[in-house]
Amino acid sequence: MSDLEPFEPGTTLPELAETLSTLAGVVLGEETLDAVLEMIVSLSVSSIPDVHGASVSLARHGEVVTASATSEIVRELDAVQYEAGHGPCIDAIRTGERQHEVGAGLLEHWPTFGAAAIEDGVASMLSTPLAVRGRSVGALNLYATTTDAFDGRTAEMATIFADHAAVVLSNAAAYAETETTNENLMAALATRQVIGQAIGIIMQRDGCGSAAAFDVLRDASQHANVKLRDVAAELVRAADPELRDERPTRGQNRP
């Protein structure tokens, strides 16, 4: 991340798009997600003329939070929207449609937020929804000091930033799914191993086959109303001299 050059005003759209694509490809985890969102909001401010603040809002567990913001004022203006339950970013997330308002329109459209924004010198506001797999999960919010900040090309740039922020979010979600799969796999393999060991012990002890040994475990589990995995673990522990005799200091005195 650190070797990426900061953008100078006047960067062309293809250049921006190329760098943002690179950004989207490197996302791996939660830390990187925050770093990339931070880069997207600061790029929005440095590349779009008249934009003095930017933030990314995300809907998480039923509430909207600011994941990244370029300044404390922006963070506070976002918070005004969350508390009021209205505002461009809330509406962008809820409707999945871009919200754009200028001057007195801010006050008319969103009275509480509009008043706070105008007081802080905001003259126009653009919130672009972030869609992940067809669902609106957040918004890229741009605050500007002039009324004509989001005309034509700048609105197009905002859409490019928002699209890339959405790709970043989508990658992060895929990464989280992979992590969950890995955890499930480790847990499942550990359970399979202990059940397999227990089946082996019963086969040896009772001189039976694996299916019959499994039935012994199954019946013990059902009668005691204890999970099969726990029945198996107890059987393995009782049969293993190392585990049975040295459980508290297991593994410490090995040659």
Partner: protein, 74 residues
């Protein structure tokens, strides 16, 4: 077996993970076919799925139980 899965509040994926942890070797698709009644399980797969569901019912404090293979034959 599908109505048991729904009653156990398990997604097809969660049921497959539970089945796999207990020693099952079939793919998620093959297990889905068994659960939905599109394929007939052998004794081992039937009992692993029944066990996975029954352990879940115990967790939820439900009395519902899926009969094991030998109980079906009886």
């Amino acid at each position: 077996m599908e109505h048991y899965r729904v009653a156990a509040e398990l997604t097809p994926s969660e049921l497959w993970w539970a089945y796999f942890a207990l020693g099952g070797n079939r793919t998620p698709d093959a297990v889905a076919a068994i659960v939905e009644g599109r394929a007939h399980p052998d004794r081992t797969d039937h009992d692993l799925l029944a066990l996975a569901l029954n352990e879940r019912f115990s967790e939820l404090g439900r009395d519902s139980r899926v009969p094991f293979f030998d109980q079906l034959e009886a």
